[in-house]
Amino acid sequence: MNKIYEDLSSRFTLSDYHQQRDNLAFVTVEKAQLVSAITYMRDYLKFTHLVLMTSVDWLEQGKFQLTYLLHNYELHVNFGLKVMLDRDNAVMDTIHHLWGHARVYQRELHEMFGIDFPGSPGVNEPMILESWQGPPPMRRDFDTKKYSEETFDHRPRQHVEPEDYLRQNLYPED
């Protein structure tokens, strides 16, 4: 693990290295260097499997944290590369040319967090939320209750007690 980190840190500007377990570590990379770092890890360090791509919304700091988790099938280790993006200008370089399923992840991140990946095929198409009008729902400042109150009409509760229903049907005179 440390060897991989030393190799990476001699080539890229890294910060905030954290080894969680023997086979899992996370490191933060600069935004401009992410695609080259991830390509280097795939092609030279044998991290050939993209496990997942996800985002964490740090609303208080005004940042999005993008996590790319990679896996090496020879050493059986996971390595997570993290990038911090500005919440106001959430644009990231695409990696769909490296993995086929990365475009699905990017499509989901665009829909759920509003992070744009220019050039990724079909990134603007709705994936899960077809005909969604509101703001990206996985952002932490999205208020679900307020949105549903504003968007959907209130339907009054129609509840009849079974006892009353039976009585009305069986003994309508009473």
């Binding site: 969680q20 377990r21 086979n23 899992l24 996370f26 050939t48 499997h49 993209l50 496990v51 997942l52 996800t54 964490v56 919304d57 996590t67 988790l69 099938y73 059986h76 996971n78 997570g80 993995w99 086929g100 399923h101 475009r103 699905v104 992840y105 709705p126 994936m127 899960i128 939320l129 077809e130 729902p137 996985m138 932490r140 679900t144």
Partner: protein
């Protein structure tokens, strides 16, 4: 190039739907190809697919959003609903991620019981799958046998955990209970029946000329596709590559059990079916080993402080386990509060069901689409969560 396919200009196929030579057809959301709802938008020429677009979102319940506003113990009834036929992997991974961030070690007996529960749920999930696989190729008999037999496995779950589908058995810190009296005898009976049924399924399925002619050569996963699309689990083992998380990075007590990684080389639907059929036998053997080796007494859980006011130290982790579809993972970020900052579920269907299926479906007959889809073993709730 087959003249059925439209001409390719600038890397994109150009065809005119108004020419009546090509047709757009929707498969789903309800169809025999998957357990759940997911639809395919197919462009077809004759009866061959020339383009496939997958549409998901029919089962979106916003689990990841819900978990942001709930305490760790409140998330428990939510996570198992992410995958209906095999909920235990979710329970285990959520519990394991929470325990890792808390720094809690679980007792030895709980580890064995968790492994037992995971293997039982693998067996139940495979029984669901094999019915769909043979049903998609026109053999409904196997589907009736296997879905009916799955209920006997669910009976074992009911006896062990109190529930048939969503067990909520693996709480953070351990498991809820030990083996009830007489459970082992019941399990032996069910496992004996299961291995007999599997042999019958073998003769009906793999000696069947219809199944052979339709499944062989369908949806071949070549080695170059594996890393490109992040293929995992039985799909990759069907292509001759021995990768199994239970062997490669053992969790719970899998390092103390005796089993081999089952592989086939052809990479088509037939090979994947055979791999999964062998893994059902493997599960049965593993359950027998666990019952024989597990400690009969000992604590079931580590006592945690009041779970309703549990504050998890800040940090992040990723835990993974081998489900019936391959690598299942939970990425959990905590900010030190009572609520998880973010829980991301990595379902294996995410890569199989979307990008890989769109790639493999081109050139397949309409009638074989279901067989192809279910041979990738997709559970749509994992995709949309």
């Amino acid at each position: 190039m087959n003249d059925k396919y439209p001409p390719i200009v600038d890397g994109k196929s150009v065809y005119d739907l108004d020419s009546q030579k090509y047709l757009k057809m929707w498969q789903g959301p309800q169809h025999p190809g998957v357990t759940g709802n997911m639809s395919l938008e197919l462009d077809i020429s004759g009866d061959q697919i020339i383009k496939c677009n997958t549409h998901v979102g029919y089962l979106h319940r916003g689990f990841e959003k819900l978990m942001e506003r709930r305490r760790y113990i409140n998330c428990f009834p939510i996570v198992c609903r992410i995958c209906v036929p095999e909920p235990d992997t979710n329970e285990y991974l959520f519990a394991a991620a929470t325990e890792e961030l808390l720094g809690v070690e679980i007792p030895e007996r709980a580890k064995w019981l968790r492994t037992l529960d995971l293997e039982l749920s693998r067996l139940a999930s495979f029984f669901m799958w094999i019915g769909g696989q043979s049903g998609a190729f026109g053999s409904g008999t196997v589907a009736q046998w296997s879905i009916a037999y799955r209920d006997y496995v669910l009976d074992l779950f009911e006896e062990l955990t109190g529930a048939r589908i969503y067990h909520m058995y693996m709480i953070p810190g351990g498991v809820r209970g030990g083996l009830p009296e007489g459970w082992i005898q019941h399990a032996e009976k069910v496992l004996d029946g299961a291995s007999k049924l599997l042999d019958e399924i073998y003769y009906v399925t793999f000696h069947n000329s219809v199944f052979k002619s339709r499944a062989k050569g369908l949806g071949i996963i070549t080695p170059d596709l594996i890393d490109r699309f992040g293929v995992v689990g039985p799909n990759v083992r069907g292509s001759g590559i021995a990768r199994d998380l239970r062997k490669d990075s053992p969790y719970l007590v899998y390092d103390q059990l005796d089993f081999n990684i089952e592989t086939e080389t052809a990479g088509d639907t037939y090979a994947r079916t055979l791999v999964r059929w062998k893994e059902m036998h493997q599960s049965i053997s593993l359950i027998r080993q666990i019952i024989m080796l597990m400690p009969k007494s000992g604590p079931l859980y580590t006592t945690l402080p009041n779970v309703l006011h549990l504050k998890v130290p800040a940090g992040e982790t990723y835990v993974k386990a081998e489900s019936t579809r391959g690598e299942y993972g939970y990425y959990m970020v905590s900010d030190g509060s009572e609520f998880p900052r973010k829980v991301t579920v990595r379902g294996p269907s995410y890569s199989h069901g979307m990008a890989l299926l769109e790639h493999l479906a081109v050139g397949v007959n309409i009638a074989d689409t279901h067989g192809l889809m279910i041979s990738l073993h997709t559970y749509p709730p994992e995709i949309e969560r």
